[in-house]
């Protein structure tokens, strides 16, 4: 009896020790380094979810790459939705701060992206809730950089950072 109690005690102790190591390490890793997420919706077709509603891609989100809030035009990033803070959205970066961008269906025809903001759009114009609806978004809402498609296996690929030529900024900040 005493022996079995000792065994239980030792087991609980080991479990607690492992628990307090594993959970914080895992949470920190998922917050700071990388995590995976399932993409829902058609807003990024054809780059993501090309099959429509029957397939949904799983992407690798790299947090470490955006730790200094550095993004390039053309990157696919995930951000906290400015309209619904509980939701994450995945979009392509079209313009960085200081660029002048030609909008599609926004209230102003041309928009200059203010300091600390980016202009994001889905690849599927007209079916995407993006900067054309809510304007430029603050870089503070940036969540991660989507780098790879992990699932389904036949779609395994690196996500290229390409900017559609017709969506180049009218005037970029470097000029």
């Amino acid at each position: 009896m005493a022996q079995s109690q000792g065994w239980v005690k030792r087991y609980v102790k080991a479990f607690c020790k492992g628990f307090f190591v594993a959970v914080p390490v895992a949470v920190t890793f998922l917050d700071r380094v990388a995590c995976v997420a399932r993409v829902e919706g058609a807003s990024m077709q054809p780059s993501l979810n090309p099959g429509g509603s029957q397939s949904s891609d799983v992407v690798l989100l790299n947090h470490w790459k955006v730790r200094n809030f550095e993004v390039q035009r053309g990157d696919i990033v995930s951000l906290v939705s400015p309209k619904n803070p509980g939701q994450k959205i995945i979009k392509r970066v079209i313009a960085l701060e200081g660029d002048i961008v030609k909008t599609i269906g926004h209230k102003n025809r041309y928009v200059k992206v203010p300091r600390g903001h980016i202009w994001v759009e889905g690849d599927h114009h007209g079916h995407s809730f993006d900067s054309n609806a809510f304007g430029p978004v603050s870089l503070g809402l940036l969540h991660a950089h989507a780098t790879h498609i992990l699932w389904p296996p036949e779609r395994w690929q690196k996500l290229e950072s390409v900017l559609p030529p017709e969506r180049l900024p009218v005037q970029s900040a470097e000029e």
């Binding site: 390490v25 949470v27 400015p82 803070p85 600390g116 978004v137």
Partner: protein, 166 residues
Amino acid sequence: MLRGILGKTFRLVGYTIQYGCIAHCAFEYVGGVVMCSGPSMEPTIQNSDIVFAENLSRHFHGIQRGDIVIAKSPSDPKSNICKRVIGLEGDKMLTKSPSEFFKSHSYVPTGHVWLEGDNLQNSTDSRYYGPIPYGLIRGRIFFKIWPLSDFGFLRGSPNGHRSSDE
């Protein structure tokens, strides 16, 4: 000998990672001690006061009007700002100071909050850059630790509620 040193090094690295991760979780999800600087929240929080901030109410959507929050600055994501929440989504806000003759109003859009400093004359806040997204809020300040003469829960706004018409 070598094995002992190696073992010690590994154990040290392991403990560093472990406590670093625990610290990250605590600061990210529970709260921490923050030093505030700048004049925008005088007289509630003076320059270089030390306060306690909690991050739980952000995750449970418990931010209310009158709370003092820490948020990422909308124009510079690396710096933080400390302001009072004046309006939540759907509220009608005065966008100019009330002394001005022409008053203009705007509504706070969905998912946004309206922040203002307590020091209305010397504060860069939503009157300047508009409502900010809720997602930029990091935590809520509720307890002052330093200076000791002011130890305790924070006071309400000294400006009354100049905000909401509703």
